[in-house]
C-alpha cells in the first residue's frame, strides 16, 4: 500500500525508482563477491528412520538474518525457511507442535495424500497461542515421491502467517529418486519467498499491504537468502527442486543460456522430461527440473522474469518505489564446478495413465465483487467462504471433472486439498501433458477443466485460490467427501 508522509513530493518519472534499483542490483551482481557457498546447507533436515519421522516443531517469532539485517519473522524452529522434512512411503509421521505465536494457527501438509480429519491434514484445527498438538499420520505406501510442503492454514490468517515466513519443505523419497541419472544428479532445493519489513526489521502490518491484489514483498529470497549461489557440475546434471512459498508472488523462471528439463510437477514425476525455456510457478506450486552442465563453465543467473497477473491493468501488487514488474530479478546464481560424472537426461520417469471419464461435472466461477452478506469479497460461484456451509459434496471412489472459470480481472491459482488431479483442458483445448497437480493457474478470462479422483480419505476439507489474501478474503469452499 502506498504510504507517503505529509508534504512529501515524489518524482514519478517514466524510469521510476524501481527500475533504477533493479539496475543497480544487476550491476552489483555481475561483479559480485562469492555469496553463500551452497543453499543446501541452509536447511535443518529431519529424515525418517526405521519407518518413523518424529520431531518437535515450534512456531514462534524469531530474529532471522534477512539480507544482512536482523528481521523478526515468523518461524518454525527459528528458521526461514523451516526445517526440511524427509520421509518414505509407508512411514509414520509424528510432529509435536507448539504454537508460540501471538495468534492461533495450525499446519496444512500441502500436497500430501493423507487423512484430512483428526490430527493430520486438518485445516479446521484451531491451535491457540501457547497450546500444543501432536500431528500423527502415515504416508500411504503407494504415495508418489515428490516435493510437498507445510504451512499454516487457519482461514483469515493464512496470508499473514505465511508472509511472516512460516513454510517448509516436506519431501517424500521414492521411485523418482532411484532413477540412475536423477540419483547421480546434484540435488538442490529452492524455496522462494518474499518479505516486507520496516527499518527496524519488523514485518509490515497487513493493513498497509495490498490485500486486494495479494500482498507482495520487495525482498525476494531463495532459501531465505537474496541471490544465493548454487553449483552445477560441468558435464553433469543439477536437479533443482523448487517451491513457490510466496503468498501472492508468481515466479516466471529462466536460466541464462540454459533450458530446463522438467521432470516433476506438484504431484511428482512426469512420464518423461519436457524441455522448457521458462517455468511459471504460482503460489503453492512446485516443480523439479534437471539442468545440463554443457555450456561454457562460468556463472549464470537464474532469473525471475516479469509476469502480469492482472488487477489494475498496469500495476503489480508491490509497494511504492518497488514496482519491479517490468524488470527481471536475479533469484540465484549458478556456478559451474569441476567436471563431475557425465550424465544425460533420462528418458522414462513414470507411468501416469489418464483417469477414467468422470461421473459428475461441476462448474466453479472465480471473481471478486460485492456480496450481500460480507461486502467486498473474493467469491466462488458468487459466495464468500462460510465455515458452516458445505459448498461441494462428493462421493469417495468417484471421479469428477471441475470446470473452473475465472471471470475476474486477476489470475487465480486454484488449489484442492489432500488430492492430486489432472488438467483435462484449458479454454476447451485438450491438455496433452499427463501430470499430477494440486494447484493449477486459472488465468483471468480463462477456463481450466481438471479431473479429480476422490480416493482413500473421506471427510471435510477445502479448495481455494492460492493467492492467500484472496483465500482469506473469501475465495475458498468447503468440500465434503462422503464415504
Amino acid at each position: 500500500m502506498v504510504k507517503i508522509n505529509r508534504r512529501q513530493f515524489i518524482a514519478l518519472g517514466a524510469a521510476g525508482v524501481g527500475t533504477a534499483l533493479i539496475g543497480n542490483w544487476l550491476r552489483q551482481d555481475i561483479s559480485s563477491q562469492p555469496l553463500a557457498s551452497s543453499s543446501a546447507n541452509v536447511f535443518d533436515v529431519y529424515q525418517s528412520s526405521d519407518g518413523l519421522l518424529e520431531l518437535d516443531i515450534i512456531a514462534k517469532e524469531n530474529p532471522v538474518n534477512l539480507t544482512g539485517r536482523q528481521a523478526y519473522l515468523l518461524t518454525y524452529n527459528g528458521q526461514v525457511p523451516a526445517p526440511r522434512l524427509e520421509a518414505n512411503p509407508g512411514d509414520k509421521i509424528r510432529i509435536h507442535f507448539a504454537n508460540n505465536l501471538s495468534q492461533p494457527t495450525n499446519i496444512h501438509y500441502h500436497g500430501l495424500h493423507i487423512p484430512i480429519m483428526g490430527n493430520a491434514d486438518n485445516v479446521f484445527l484451531h491451535i491457540k497461542p501457547g497450546e500444543k498438538l501432536t500431528y500423527e499420520f502415515q504416508i500411504p505406501s503407494n504415495h508418489p515421491a515428490g516435493i510437498f510442503w507445510y504451512h499454516p492454514h487457519l482461514h483469515g490468517l493464512v496470508a499473514e502467517q505465511l508472509f511472516g515466513g512460516l513454510a517448509g519443505l516436506f519431501i517424500v523419497r521414492g521411485d523418482l529418486d532411484e532413477i540412475p541419472e536423477v540419483k547421480a544428479a546434484k540435488e538442490e532445493f529452492l524455496v522462494l519467498q518474499d518479505f516486507a519489513v520496516d527499518n527496524n526489521g519488523r514485518l509490515i502490518n497487513s493493513a498497509h499491504m495490498s490485500l486486494m491484489m495479494g500482498r507482495e514483498g520487495d525482498i525476494i529470497t531463495a532459501n531465505g537468502q537474496v541471490n544465493p549461489s548454487l553449483s552445477l557440475p560441468e558435464q553433469g546434471l543439477l536437479r533443482l527442486r523448487i517451491l513457490n512459498a510466496s503468498t501472492s508472488r508468481f515466479y516466471r523462471l529462466a536460466l541464462e543460456d540454459h533450458s530446463f528439463y522438467q521432470i516433476a510437477t506438484d504431484g511428482g514425476a512426469l512420464n518423461e522430461p519436457i524441455e522448457v525455456n521458462e517455468l511459471l510457478l504460482t503460489p503453492g506450486q512446485r516443480a523439479e527440473v534437471l539442468i545440463k552442465g554443457d555450456k561454457e563453465p562460468r556463472q549464470y543467473r537464474l532469473l525471475n522474469l516479469p509476469y502480469d497477473r492482472g488487477g489494475m491493468g498496469m500495476m503489480g501488487g508491490g509497494m511504492m518505489g518497488r514496482n519491479n514488474r517490468d524488470e527481471p530479478i536475479v533469484l540465484a546464481t549458478i556456478n559451474y564446478e569441476a567436471p563431475g560424472q557425465s550424465l544425460s537426461i533420462p528418458t522414462q520417469l513414470a507411468s501416469i495413465t489418464a483417469l477414467p471419464e468422470p461421473q459428475t461435472v461441476r462448474s466453479f466461477e472465480l471473481n471478486h465483487g460485492m456480496n450481500p452478506a460480507v461486502g467486498m469479497a473474493f467469491l466462488i460461484n458468487g459466495e464468500a467462504y462460510n465455515h458452516d456451509r458445505l459448498d461441494t459434496q462428493v462421493q469417495l471412489d468417484t471421479v469428477e471433472d471441475w470446470e473452473i472459470t475465472n471471470t475476474g480481472m486477476m489470475d487465480h491459482p486454484f488449489h484442492v486439498h489432500g488430492l492430486a488431479f489432472q488438467v483435462i483442458s484449458r479454454n476447451g483445448q485438450p491438455e496433452s501433458l499427463l501430470a499430477w497437480r494440486d494447484t493449477v493457474l486459472v488465468p483471468r478470462g480463462e477456463t481450466v477443466r481438471i479431473r479429480i479422483p476422490f480416493r482413500d480419505f473421506a471427510g471435510k476439507t477445502v479448495y481455494h485460490c492460492h493467492v492467500l489474501d484472496h483465500e482469506d478474503l473469501g475465495m475458498m469452499g468447503n468440500l465434503m467427501i462422503n464415504a
Partner: protein, 176 residues
C-alpha cells in the same frame, strides 16, 4: 440443490453446489444483524455546486468498480459508465503514473480521478480548481467506497498529482 442435467453420461450441475434459495435466505437474515451500511453514505460537501457529470472507464470483468459508481450516484453524480477491455491504454493516454493506478479511471472537468476516491473529496478538489492533473487512491484499499468489506478498514491516502508526476497528500484516512 442445484439443477442438474445429464450430458454425455455426466451430470452437469448448472448452479453453485449448495447455493440453494434457503441458503441465501439464511445469509440475508445474517446480514440483518450485521448491517452493511457504509461510512461513506454520509454527505460531507452539501454546498457543492460544480460539475456533476463524470465518465467512468472500467474493465467489464472488474467486480468492484460498480460499487464505486453506486457511491458516486448516491452523492449526486451523473455517471457515464464505459466498459473497456484496454484500461492500460486508457491510463497511458491520461498519463497516469503506473505507481498511482487503481482499477477504474474517472474523467471529470478535465481532471483524472483514479480508483476508489471518496467522491466528497472529488467535490472539494473540484471546488478548488487546482492546477493539478487529478486525484488518486492507488491500488484497491479495502474499506474505501465500493470496497467495503466486513470490518476491514485499511488506512489510505487520497493523493493529488500533477503532469510532472509529483504527488502530494490531499486527504489521509487513518481510521474511519
Amino acid at each position: 440443490m442445484a439443477i442438474a442435467s445429464v450430458i454425455g453420461g455426466a451430470i452437469y450441475l448448472t448452479s453453485a453446489q449448495g447455493k440453494s434459495i434457503s441458503n441465501n435466505t439464511a445469509i440475508a437474515q445474517d446480514t440483518n444483524t450485521a448491517t452493511l451500511t457504509s461510512v461513506w453514505d454520509k454527505e460531507t460537501e452539501p454546498a457543492y455546486s460544480g460539475t456533476t457529470e463524470m465518465t467512468v472507464y472500467r474493465s467489464p470483468s472488474c467486480g468492484c468498480c460498480g460499487g464505486w459508481i453506486e457511491h458516486a450516484k448516491q452523492h449526486g453524480f451523473k455517471v457515464k459508465d464505459i466498459k473497456t477491455e484496454d484500461m492500460a491504454a486508457l491510463k497511458q493516454k491520461y498519463k497516469l503514473p503506473t505507481e498511482l493506478a487503481s482499477c477504474h479511471t474517472t474523467i471529470i472537468d478535465g481532471y483524472v480521478m483514479e480508483g476508489h476516491i471518496p467522491v466528497d473529496d472529488i467535490k472539494r478538489f473540484l471546488s478548488e480548481k487546482p492546477e493539478l492533473a487529478g486525484l488518486t487512491v492507488p491500488g484497491m484499499p479495502i474499506g474505501t467506497p465500493g470496497m467495503e468489506a466486513r470490518n476491514i478498514k485499511q488506512p489510505f491516502q487520497v493523493l493529488s498529482f500533477n503532469d510532472r508526476g509529483e504527488v502530494e497528500i490531499f486527504k489521509e484516512y487513518q481510521s474511519y
